[in-house]
Every structure is written in C-alpha cells, then in structure tokens.
C-alpha cells in the first residue's frame, strides 16, 4: 500500500538512482526532471485535504516505527522545497555534467522532503543524515577541503542531535514527536528532566539545527560549500536545505517550548531561550552581511548573503510572538524564492561567461537581457523593495520585532537590510552595467531550461509581493488563529498596515513617468567606467577603486579590527590540533616495542588488582 506520502518522499531518490544508472545525456535529464516534478504534482493534489486534516503513513523499519505526516505546516515547507526543487531540476538540465550529480541532488531532495514530513526522531535523523551526505557528495566532487569542512561540521551537528534524541529516548522512552511532546508537557510537574539536562538538550538541538541553517558561529562551511557545488544545485542547497535547519528550530519550539519556558522563564519579558535564538539570528545577519559586502567573487557574495538572510528567519522565530512566526514563515518562502533565483542567475552567468570574479565581468545587460531582468527582480526582492515578496516578509519581521519591544534586534534588521542593499547594488552594476570586457563580446543568452527555471522562481516573487495576503491567509490557517489581518492585497497588523496593491500602482506610475523623461528629455553621454565613483578627483594607481574592483575597500579598512578574528581559521586550528594530538597519541601508544605492550597488560592486571582491593 504505497500511499501518496511514500511516493512524495522517495520519488526523487528513485529517479536519482535511475538517472545515475542510465548515464546518457538525454535520458538522465528527463528522468531527473520527472523525479523533481512528481512532488510538485502530489503537493498540489493534497493541498485541499491538508487544510482540513492530515495524511498519515507509518512503516516499521528495523524495529523502529517511522511515522510520516502531512499537515498544513509541513505542507508549506514541502511546497517551498518543491518550487525550488523544480527550478533546480530545470537549471541542472543545462549545467549538470554527469548522472553522479543527478543522483545526489535528488537524494538531498528526498532528504529534505523526508525531514519536513517525518513525525518521529529516527526517520527525522535518518533523512537528515541522508540529506547532509548527499549535499556533501555534491561538493566533494569539486573541492575536498571545503566539502570535508562542511561534512565534519554537519556530522558534528547530526551527532549532537543523535545524543539529544538518545537522552530524550532515555528520559521519555519514546521516539515519536507526539508522545515526546506529551511526556515533556507532563514532565513540567514531575521534573524528571533537570534544569541542566534541558539546557544540554537545548544546546545539542540548537547546534544541530544551527549548523544546517548556518547560524553565526557555525556558518563557516557555507561560503565554501555553496560556491564549490554545481551552481544550479546551490539554488536548492541554499534555498531548501537551510530551511531544514530552520524547520528544526520550529520543531524545537513545538516539542520543548513549554519545558524550556518552565525551566528558564523570561528575560525582560521575552522567552529566555527564544531571546538567545533571536540574538544568534541578529548576529548572523550583521556579520554575514558585512562579510558579503567585502567579497570579490560573485559566488562568495551570494553565499554570505544567503547565510545572512537565513539569519532573518532565525531572528523572526527568536522573537517568539505569533507575528514573529508568521513573518519567519513568510520569509522562508521569499528567501527560498529570491535566493534560488540569484543562484540560477549566477549559474547562467558562469555557464555563459566562465568568469566568477566581478572584475572580469561587466555590461552583460545587452547580451543576456532575460537573465538581467530576472536578476533585477531578485535584487529588488532581496533588498526588500515594496512590490516584491521580500519586502512583505521583512516588513512582517520588522513589525514583530518592534511589537515585541526588541529595539537592538530591530536595529540589527535595519543594518542588515542596508548592507544587503549595498552588496546587491554592487552586483547589479558590476555585472550588468558599465563597459563589457572585450572577451565577453560573443556571450549568448542562457539556454532555455535555465531560463524557464528562473521564470518559475521569479513569478512567486512578484505574485506574493503584490498579493502577500495569499501567503498570510495560509499561515493563519496553518496556525489556526488570525495572526495577520487584511485581504489578499492588504496586510493589517496591530501596529500598521501595508497596502501592496496601492504601492505597486504608485510604483508603476512613477516608472512610466521616469521612462517618458528618459526617452524625450535627458541627453546621454558615454562615460568611462572608472569615474563613476570618484566624482571627478584623480584616480591614483594603488587606490584604484571601481565598481568592479574593491568597491568597498574603505569599509574593509574600517572593519579590519574585526576581520582579524575569523571563525574559519579558529576551526582550522582546532582541527590541526586534533590531528597532531592523534599523531602523538598513536606514536606514543603503538610504539612497536612488544615489551611496552606486555607492560600494558601488566598495568591492566594491576588496575584489576587495585580495583578488587578498593
């Protein structure tokens, strides 16, 4: 009795295996695409039923009862993953080189869907590890160091979660979410889990989900992993896989929220443990945005920006109020959509030009007009300019932060958006406008499947930007209470309303007027690219700043006090120390001399003797 959920979860994996088996250029693309399309179809089919009740599916595997459930909440996450998944499949049709990539891309797709749908810890852990392993194999192909760094951090996270699961299993004797939630709820009175243990559990789960979401101290793997993998896969990698981490944090709330509240109470009126998450999110936003601004490579820039944007979602969940959750969930959708679009645009650029540094690119707007349009939509959405979905979700997060009286955190959001605008504008000018280097003259538009993929991701940007009510109405149903008021075009929250339709009309009118003025009024002159920045004063060789090269060098100099401390080097040093320790341990213990080995035996006998006497 293979019901919908099993097909939904394992269709991509089966398709991936088939694509890897029939490693012929045409066939594997088709199989891969079908594999990615099936979940979209099934999710659409189950949309109606999910709103009223949930679809369940349980199988016993190796003595464990795996429960899969599709409710309104995880339908939402699965839908986000499905949209980005289908776009990735289309992107991969043009950029993937072998069946190997299809196998592991679709395996991670199965992993993500499984993580969203599973209702017991063993299934959750199994698919979580599968997702981590598959994405690791995508990066291993191109760069060993980065992939190993990514895998070690995520395996540490996964094993931290395993330890947490084992502790919960030891305490509650159960593995599925419902019983654990019930047991933890009852535990408030019994107190079987001490304060220390619940703190340990919170830290363990936070590390596990923090690593996947790229939260501040554990974000070091993101730039390397995102830029080394096949670019169109990175759209899924950063669009959907990071959402698994965020979903985990949500799970933390659902399962242990009451317990953690009971144990740690509130701090200035906010839930203490939620406040920690909020601050982690805030720091991630600020640090990642700063680092993104200073990047010279297009992939690194978007990698850091992706880490920053996920920081927003963490921050929204950290706020802890229902409006915060609504904002966070909306941002999950918008981040997946515009970040996925950005990575597909990067994939198109790298596919056509083969360049990844800003200084080698420029003036591509004429050559790749459609990709440019998509890039523009992504830019507007990321920096939160009204008609786009990005604005709606950020606006909700602002509202939530302000309402919850978190001024510093709200300050971090504003700073983050400002920086976001800074690096996004840099991307816009450096890649699309200005002089085109001579070797890029014969660049053609990206292949068709990639363009369709981009279009698929652009439409929700605009649609949910203009009519954000669609999403908030679904979120209200998912949470079961009226969090965000207003109809399809208007969002009403206690502290403000946002009429998306009105703003869009005004914007379109303004653009029309600007177009007229441009066509008839102003005259244009050719300007060399270099002087757009210095506004007239002379360009000296060593401080030659242009939009494409160290555009933000002064900012870097201002920040160099902070830039000295890099978490990346810190982790590398720890890894080095661990390996040296391993070496000395091995040399000293297995020193090859059979006499010392016999001494070890004698020492064990001594311990046994003393053990007996004690």
């Amino acid at each position: 009795m293979i019901n919908d959920l099993m097909i939904l979860i394992f269709a991509p994996l089966v398709a991936g295996i088939l694509a890897w088996a029939f490693d012929v250029r045409g066939i594997r693309e088709a199989i891969g695409f079908i594999g990615a399309a099936i979940p979209v179809v099934i999710l659409a089919k189950t949309y109606q039923t999910v709103l009223s009740n949930s679809i369940n599916y349980t199988i016993t595997v190796g003595g464990f009862k795996l429960i899969f459930q599709l409710t309104a909440l995880n339908w939402y996450f699965a839908a986000v993953a499905a949209i980005v998944g289908i776009a990735m499949a289309l992107g991969m049709i043009s950029t993937s080189r072998s069946g190997y990539e299809w196998l592991f891309a679709l395996m991670s797709y199965t992993g993500v869907l499984g993580v969203f749908l599973s209702q017991d810890f063993i299934g959750f852990f199994l698919l979580w590890e599968l997702m981590t392993f598959a994405s690791f194999m995508m990066v291993l192909r191109n760069n060993r160091h980065e992939s190993l760094k990514y895998f070690v951090l995520s395996v540490i996270g996964a094993y931290a979660m395993m330890l947490g699961i084992a502790i919960l299993y030891a305490k509650t004797g159960a593995l599925d979410f419902a019983t654990i939630r019930q047991a933890l709820y009852m535990d408030l009175s019994i107190g079987a889990i001490s304060k220390g243990e619940s703190a340990l559990l919170f830290v363990l789960f936070l590390t596990a989900f923090g690593v996947k979401a790229g939260a501040f101290p554990l974000h070091v793997w993101a730039p390397g992993a995102y830029s080394e993998a096949n670019q169109s896969y990175t759209s899924f990698f950063s669009g959907a896989l990071s959402k698994a981490g965020v979903y985990g944090i949500l799970l933390l709330y659902i399962l242990m929220g009451a317990k953690l509240y009971a144990e740690f109470g509130t701090f200035h009126g906010h839930l203490t443990f939620a406040y920690v998450i909020a601050w982690i999110g805030a720091i991630t936003v600020v640090v990642a945005s700063f680092l993104a601004v200073l990047q010279e490579d297009i992939r690194k820039l978007f990698a850091y920006s992706s880490v920053g944007q996920v920081g927003y979602i963490l921050l929204a969940f950290g706020v802890g109020t229902s409006l915060g959750f609504a904002g966070g969930l909306f941002h999950v959708l918008s981040h997946a959509v515009f970040k996925g679009l950005f990575w597909l645009v990067t994939a198109a650029i790298i596919l056509q030009t083969g360049k990844t540094k800003f200084k080698d690119m420029g003036g591509l707007a004429e050559k790749m007009p459609f990709t440019f349009a998509m890039g523009l939509i992504a830019v507007l959405s990321l920096s939160g300019i009204p008609p786009m979905a990005g604005f709606a979700s950020k606006w909700l997060i602002y509202e939530a932060a302000i309402q919850a009286h978190m001024p510093l955190v709200a300050g971090a959001i504003f700073l983050g958006s400002g920086l976001a605008f800074a690096y996004v504008v840099r991307f816009l000018y450096a890649v699309w406008f200005g002089q085109r280097p001579s070797d890029l003259d014969n660049v053609k538009e990206a292949p068709l499947p990639l363009l369709i993929g981009m279009a698929i991701l652009a439409i929700p940007n605009i649609l949910f930007g203009v009519a954000p009510g669609l999403v908030t109405e679904y979120i209200n149903k998912a949470f079961g209470s009226e969090i965000v008021g207003g109809d399809y075009f208007k969002l009403v929250t206690p502290t403000g309303t946002y009429n998306a339709l009105l703003v869009t009309i005004v914007l379109v009118l303004g653009l029309a007027i600007a177009g007229l003025v441009f066509l008839y009024g102003a005259t244009t002159r050719k300007i060399p690219v270099t002087n757009t920045y210095q506004s007239g004063n002379p360009v000296i060789e060593d401080y030659n700043l242009s939009i494409r090269r160290n555009f933000y060098k002064p900012l870097a100099e201002a920040l160099d006090f902070w830039l000295k401390y890099s978490w990346d080097r810190f982790y590398e040093r720890i890894a080095g120390i661990a390996e040296d320790f391993a070496d000395t341990l091995r040399q000293s213990f297995y020193n090859g001399n059979v006499q010392s080995y016999s001494w070890y035996l004698a020492i064990v006998l001594l311990i046994l003797a003393l053990w007996g006497v004690l």
């Binding site: 291993l140 992939s147 094993y159 502790i167 213990f589 046994l608 007996g612």
Partner: protein, 495 residues
C-alpha cells in the same frame, strides 16, 4: 538426522584438515580446490543447523561422547551460535576462493590446513558450552592465528606474529588461572552449572575468577590497552586471513567474553566489572579512531577502524541491558559483512597494484571501478550513512548506551565516529576524484563476491527488519541466562 549431527560443524573441518596431507601426496594442485569444496560443505551444514535452530526455536545441545553435561562436554548451539557459525562458514568460503588468487607463498597445503583450523577454532569458541573447552578452542584459534600471521615469512609478518604470540600467551595463561579459580570454587567446568553455582561461592574467588577470565578473553577481543598487537597482525597477515580476523575471529573472543560475563551475573561485584569494561571499550573506540587518522597504509587504517567498531560492540555488550546486547549482536553481524567487503577490496587492490599505501589508491575509480565501488560502499556503510546497514545498529547502540546511563560514553563514541567519517571520506575522495590511470581487468568471481556483499549491505540497509529479528533472538540467547540454564539438560551431580 537428529540434532547430534550438528557436531559435524566441528568434525568436518577437522577431518578434512587431516586429509589435506593425503591429498597433497596425490596431487599438489588439488589442495586449494579441496579447501573450496570443504568450506562449501561447511556452509551447507551451517545452513542446516541455522535452519534447524531458527525453525524449532530451540537450541541444539550436542553432547560429546553421549554424556549429559556437566559430566561430558556439550556444544550449546543456540540462536547466536547458529547465526554466527553460518556467517563464519560463508565468509570462509569466500576467503577460500580469494586465497586461491591472493596467496602465492609456497607451502599451500599447510596454508589450507591452517585456514581450516582457524575456521574450526572460531566455530568451536562460539559453539562450546564448557569453559575449558572454550580455552582449548581459543588456543586453536590463537595458534593458527600466530602461524597464519607469520605465513608470509617477511620480517614484518614474523614481528607481528611474535607480538601477538607473547601478548596472547600471557592472556591465555591468566585465562587458565581464572579457570583454576572457578573450578576450585564450583567443582565443575560446565557453563550452565557455573551460572547456577556462581551466586553462592566465595565472593572474592568469584570476582577475581571472573576478572581473570574476562582479561584473558579481552586480549583476544582487542579491548583498549590489550589490542596493541592487533594493527600489526591485521597488516602483516595475508589478505584473506585479515578478513577472517576482523570478520569473526575477534567476534568469537568477544562473544565468549559476553557469554561468561552474563553467565556470572550472580557475582557480587558484577556491576563494577561491567563499568570497567565500558570504560575500556570507549577508550578502544576513541584511541583506535584517532590512530587511524593519519595512516599512510590503507590496510592498517581499516584495521584501526575495525578495532574501533569492535570496541563499539564491546561497549554495547557491556551495558548490561537486553537492548544493549541486541544492539551489540546486530552490530557484530553488520560489521562482519562490511569489514569482509572492505578488507577483500583492499586486499584485491594490494594484489593487483602490489601495495596498499594511499598512493596506490589514487584514481582507483578509473583503474579498478568494481573494487573501487565495493570499497566506497563499504566505507560509507562503516561511517554510518543511512540506507546502509551499520547505520541501524549504530543508532541502536547509541540509544541503548544512553538509556543504560553512559551518556558520556555515547558522546565520546560519537565524537570518535566524526573522526572516522573524515578519514574514510578522504579515502573516497582519493579513490574517485584524484589521479587516474588505465583500466585494469578485474576477476569476475571476486567481483561477484564483492557485489554479493554489497547487495547484502544494501538489503539490510533498506529493510533491516529480518536482520534485526535475528539479532534480537541471538541477543536474547546471550542475555537470558535462566533460559540458557534451563535449556542445558544438566544431570543432578554431586557428592
């Protein structure tokens, strides 16, 4: 065919080992095919015994000489013994074929004899129900292992064998002191009767006796300070023998230790012995994993990984709970398959490319794709990636470990398995994405064996229910001592 014919699992390898010199006199070339034939027959008998035990759900008690225990020696072939004798037979059959290709050093008839007797020793250790008989079979396994480790007659092989011999010698002497103590106190050598009498004998004698017995077996089962001989022995032994070492010789020692441990539950200081074993097991895992990190030789690296996984099994078995023992047995079965595949692959590369250093593995994916695929599946499974078989048993061990209260132990083991992931995945990167070379021809039959093991790993990985039910029955066989004692038809003996 009544149950007593199960004694053939001991008699067959023995009579064929004695028959080998006669065959050699007839025709030297017939020795290895004869070895293949005998191991196939052993698989047949083991299969019959497995079927008999698991269908009737009752252990077969083979009473040597017709005397009921404790007067005579009895073989207790319960669920665990039936399962593992089958695993030993199947792996020995594969290794017999692999030896035809891998072992070229001269006195092949003596190699065949030692091969059969190693299989016999391990089977005997697992099947016996008498502690002195366990000592004799342990010695058979040990001495064949000394001879086979030094079989290549190189300097390193002799050195490894010498180290194994001296440590093994000390271990078995203290094991014998343990037997003298237990016999002195209880007056019997039969395990079931010892379990009955263990409660009311002099507590210090019982505690020291148990400690010495476990110490003797711990040298064989490679627990932390006592396993210094193991990496050298694995590296220097011929490739098929390394597979047999890691797949079942170690496990026979571990099973015997577990059996004795649970039999003597009534001893007053039982829990402190358990705690000591848990500490040693966790140390084994951590030290072995860290030592494997910067290995230049892949075979020695996988030897360390095998030692650490055996440490994990010992950890599970020493938890003292039914869930722990089941998890340990399940991991034993998975580990036997995975390590057989890994060492087979590495051994085959060793033969084809003349060495097993890291450089030989560069670009193996292009040169020997089938072996490279086998090694990759083996490594991924060893790391514990889901949809492979070791994932399930590792999860079981972690859950059992924390429920038994050893959270620190589980945390250390998980930390060590992060290290394991690093060196295995470095190996995979070196195999597939570094260097290159032209494609070499790979033997069809060995490929078939490797694919069979890969299929086994994936089947248990995707659908572990059957394997888990076997492990549970086998685990109950070890843990449930009252059922063990009631199954053995003890005669009322006494002054």
């Amino acid at each position: 065919m009544n149950g007593q014919y199960a004694a053939l699992i001991i008699a067959l390898p023995l009579v064929s080992a004695f028959f080998v010199p006669v065959i050699k006199a007839i025709s030297k070339k017939a020795v290895m095919p004869f070895l293949l034939l005998v191991t196939l027959a052993q698989v047949g008998i083991a299969g019959w015994v497995f079927n008999e035990v698991y269908t009737s759900d009752k252990p077969i008690i083979v009473m040597a000489g017709g005397w009921r225990p404790p007067v005579g020696i009895n073989l207790y072939i319960g669920h665990f013994a039936a399962l593992f004798v089958l695993i030993i037979a199947v792996i020995s059959f594969f290794m017999a074929y692999f030896s035809i290709k891998a072992v070229k050093v001269e006195p092949l008839d003596k190699y065949a004899m030692l091969f059969l007797l190693l299989m016999l020793g391990a089977t005997g250790m697992i099947a016996t129900g008498d502690i002195f008989n366990l000592f004799v079979f342990m010695e058979i396994t040990a001495i064949t292992a000394y001879a086979l480790t030094a079989y290549n007659k190189t300097g390193e092989a002799a050195e490894a064998s010498m180290k194994y011999m001296i440590l093994g010698g000390i271990g078995s002497s203290f094991f014998l002191i343990g037997i003298a103590l237990i016999y002195g106190a209880t007056g019997t050598l039969n395990m079931a009767q010892i379990a009955q009498l263990a409660g009311n004998i002099n507590p210090t004698v019982a505690q020291v006796g148990l400690a010495l017995l476990i110490f003797g077996l711990a040298v064989e089962a490679e627990l932390f300070p006592l396993n210094a001989w193991a990496p050298d022995a694995y590296q220097a032994a011929p490739h098929p023998i390394t597979v047999m070492f890691s797949a079942f010789v170690v496990k026979a020692g571990l099973y015997a230790a577990a059996r004795l441990l649970y039999l003597m539950q009534a001893v007053s200081t039982w829990h402190s012995v358990l705690r000591l074993l848990v500490i040693m097991a966790v140390l084994t895992v951590v030290v072995a994993e860290f030592s494997a990190l910067r290995q230049r030789d892949v075979k020695r690296m996988i030897a360390y990984s095998s030692i650490s996984q055996v440490g994990m099994i010992a950890f599970a078995l020493a938890l003292g709970s039914q869930a722990g023992v089941d998890a340990g047995v399940f991991h034993m079965v998975n580990h036997a398959i995975v390590k057989a595949l890994l060492f087979l692959g590495v051994g085959y590369v060793g033969i084809k490319l003349g060495g097993t250093t890291l450089e030989d593995f560069e670009g193996l994916g292009r040169r020997m794709p089938l072996t490279a695929f086998a090694i990759t599946v083996g490594s991924l499974s060893a790391v514990g990636i889901p949809l492979f078989n070791i994932f399930w048993s590792k999860v079981r061990i972690m859950l059992a470990g924390v429920s038994a209260g050893y959270t620190w132990g589980v945390a250390l083991i998980l930390g060590a398995s992060v290290v394991e992931a690093v060196y295995y995945l470095r190996l995979i990167h070196r195999i597939w994405f570094a260097g290159g070379g032209e494609r070499l021809s790979e033997s069809f039959a060995l490929g078939a064996i490797m694919l069979f093991l890969v299929a086994l790993i994936l089947v248990i990985g995707f659908y572990p229910n059957y394997a888990w039910s076997l492990a549970q029955k086998a685990g109950a066989d070890i843990f449930d001592v009252t059922r063990y004692v009631s199954n053995v038809p003890l005669m009322g003996v006494g002054a």
